[in-house]
């Protein structure tokens, strides 16, 4: 008798675990990605080659930093249009210092720190002067790009020479190294995966990060719960700058230099990835994992179009039509869910 009862409750638990997994926002997206992946595997021979996958993953690791940055800001109910530009400025500063003879590690730390400072300034403008995210970050998109132009005088910075020096070999690994075996998993991917896991874990588990969700869900109620919402919003902008800085350093080493247009359009990819991944534009809802799955979806679309030799002239059009369709679908699903509960 006792045995059957125990079994039942075990079953019940398993049941709820499955229910939870299937019910999770990320699950349906994950299924779509797997299906898409299988489809490409069987239709395109080139798709499932290590080179193709590696190229995709490495490009994701820099864009991905801006996606996570965007997810943080969107969770507080804001938006950060300056992610790409902040990344570009951070790497330009790092590159100039490095080229000028500074130790590359120190230069990288300064580069990342400059991203944090940019985030802090924006956060102060948003909370203390009470400007909206859209305006502040739009202006900083221009300001950062303008500073890059000023620093570089409009010409790309090449780091091929300093990076080829013996003493910087360890640093080169950050962007170009492999792990486990020669021609193995590139280090940028591993750094990215580590950042995803850490951020996802912190947002789910840390009490400090929970304040981000409360602030985004209902800023007033958060204040009435004793949360210093201004501080949360500033911190999140600084986290965004920090992540963009890391992305910038990886980008810089990967390309052995700084193209002045680095990170252009990343903000749009980041927003689209977050929205597809279930991060609410109104704040308070979403996960880093979801946003990264959104990016995976976007990357697969681009890759598929390249493999199918879709003309670049229509790629942008198709990409954003698919984004729109995904958002409409998701919205319908959310409405159905709300109806079911009510």
């Amino acid at each position: 008798m006792a045995n059957t009862v125990a079994k039942k409750s075990e079953l019940g638990q398993q049941n709820s675990f499955w229910k939870k997994l299937v019910g999770a926002r990320e699950f349906s997206l994950f299924v779509i990605i797997v299906a898409f992946f299988l489809f490409l595997t069987f239709t395109q021979d080139v798709f499932l080659t290590w080179l193709n996958l590696k190229t995709m993953l490495v490009s994701m690791s820099t864009t991905g930093m801006t996606v996570i940055a965007m997810a943080f800001v969107m969770l507080t109910g804001g938006i950060d249009l300056a992610v790409g530009a902040t990344m570009c400025l951070a790497m330009a500063i790092g590159a100039v210092l490095f080229k000028g003879g500074m130790n590359p590690w120190v230069a990288s730390v300064i580069a990342i720190f400059s991203g944090v400072v940019i985030g802090w300034i924006q956060g102060m403008l948003i909370t203390k002067i009470k400007l909206i995210h859209f305006i502040v970050t739009m202006c900083f998109m221009g300001i950062c790009r303008g500073l890059v132009m000023y620093i570089t005088k409009g010409t790309p910075i090449s780091l091929v020479l300093p990076l080829s020096m013996e003493e910087n070999a360890a640093f080169v690994k950050v962007g170009q190294g492999d792990l486990f075996f020669t021609n193995g998993i590139p280090l940028p991917i591993l750094i990215f995966i580590a950042v995803v896991i850490i951020c996802d874990f912190l947002l789910k588990k840390s009490a400090v990060c929970r304040q981000i969700f409360y602030t985004g869900s209902n800023e007033k109620a958060a204040a009435y719960s004793g949360i210093k919402t201004d501080r949360v919003k500033i911190a999140v902008m600084m986290i965004s700058g920090f992540l963009c800085g890391i992305g910038g350093v990886i980008y810089m080493v990967r390309f052995s230099g700084v193209p002045v247009s680095a990170g252009e359009g990343f903000e749009m990819t980041a927003i689209a990835s977050c929205v597809i991944g279930g991060v609410s534009m109104n704040g308070g809802r979403g996960t880093v994992l979801g946003a990264v799955l959104g990016l995976t979806f976007m990357t697969l679309i681009t890759n598929a179009m390249n493999l199918f030799l879709v003309s670049p002239t229509v790629q942008e059009l198709i990409r954003y039509l698919i984004v729109l369709a995904a958002v409409i679908l998701d919205n319908a699903q959310a409405n159905a869910r709300a109806k079911k509960l009510a």
């Binding site: 789910k204 588990k205 840390s206 009490a207 929970r210 969700f213 409360y214 869900s217 209902n218 007033k220 109620a221 958060a222 204040a223 009435y224 719960s225 004793g226 949360i227 210093k228 609410s280 308070g284 809802r285 709300a338 509960l341 009510a342």
Partner: protein
Amino acid sequence: MAENILELRGLSKSFGANQVLFDVNFSLKPGEVHAIIGENGAGKSTMMNITYGLVKPNSGEIYIDGKKVDIKDPNDAEKNGICFVHQEIALCQEMTIAQNILMTRVKNMKDINLNYKKINEEAQKLIDDIVPGFDVSQPVESLNIAGQQVVEIAKALSMDCKILILDEPTSSLSDKETVALYRIMDNLKEKGIGIVYISHRLAEIFEKCDRVSVLRDGYMINTYDVANVNAAQLVNDMAGREMNNIYPPKAESVDYSDETVMLEVKNLSAKRRFKDVNFKLHRGEILGFSGLVGAGRTEIMEAIVGLREVKPGGEVIFEGENILGTAAKKIFKKGIAYLPESRKETGLFLEMGIHQNTSSLHLETIQNGALLSNAKEIAQANKFITALRTKCSSPVQPVNSLSGGNQQKVLFSKMLTVKPKILIADEPTRGVDVGAKSEIHALLRALATEGTGVIVVSSELNEILGICDRVLVMYEGKIVGEVKGEDVVANNVMHYASGAFLLEENK
């Protein structure tokens, strides 16, 4: 011409199962100021919203100049010469006074070619008739509240108005501005316009009105000529009632000695909000704050818990120290909880789960070291769902899928995860069904019995009378009366809340 410019016959209205008007009759003569009084929720606004076509009645008829009319929407109302000046200013702040006054005219798309010069001249004439000295080409935002009220009235009059409804027009006006408004009303009376004057303040009724009707709980109690009635009678009409809720028994006796003081507020003032507030909260009592909306009650509570900065301030003594000016978070940690008046705006995280709402005030209750425990969070939510009998299908269900009463229970759970030493509940049962309401009242009483100091702020007189052991009544930012124990009855509280005590003092 008929004797009555406006007549309402047998108006009834219910929202769902909740009937708010019962067979109400009302009449208005040309050139008359007819006041409607009654406490919050008596049905005054619903009655006027029906007249203006904003709400459809379940039954009843409206007559204008003796002719039956069908008013489907505010356009119909305006065609019939009914104008409504709402309590809240609803003007386009950036646009000019003239554009605002003639806004309703611009609705007609055929007049696409607007002649601004003509509009300005016309508006200037309209407003000069009321109060001279306005420049209609200035934006509305350059005016103070009283000025904006004048614009609202001019806007109403621009539509060939015969019946003017003023909904608590003086609630945001200073004394001087009120006098100006009275002059305008005199002016309009002379023109034969009938005015419906909704107010909470008895003094205004005696000063300015010809007749007065009292609404209570949706019933029209009486209509008097102001000359033949006194304040006591009106208070009686507004307050007299049967108790239709069952309240938990009150404390048998409260020890009001100095040893039982849990919180003491001394000389607390805030510019333009409240002044010289002094009170003590004792262990074991439920202390009520009564008064009209806008009397300053919420502001005081927010100041006490550090959610509002006040100047010049004063003292709030809790456990031997002055906590005024301490950050809200620290005050909550000390054991004072504040249940805000609007659960949707300032209380809950609507699209987040019951569990995440419950834990939001004291995250430390679900922590393992620095990390949050999902299991603990759900266990805590379940504990309170059982204790408060919250009706839901799962502890992770988003709170916006719950009914108002159950949402309020989640809000209470949030306050109780760490048992508070003092609980300040602002409108604890607003928008809550009857069942949940009495459960919440029982909960408040249980907390008080167990030694939590409980303050209840409520605009609902029944609630104050039903659960409070002692009541402080506020009027325009001051505590004007205290009633205790046996004396906590409607007439005593209304005497202070309506300002009737002022009339007595004057005599």
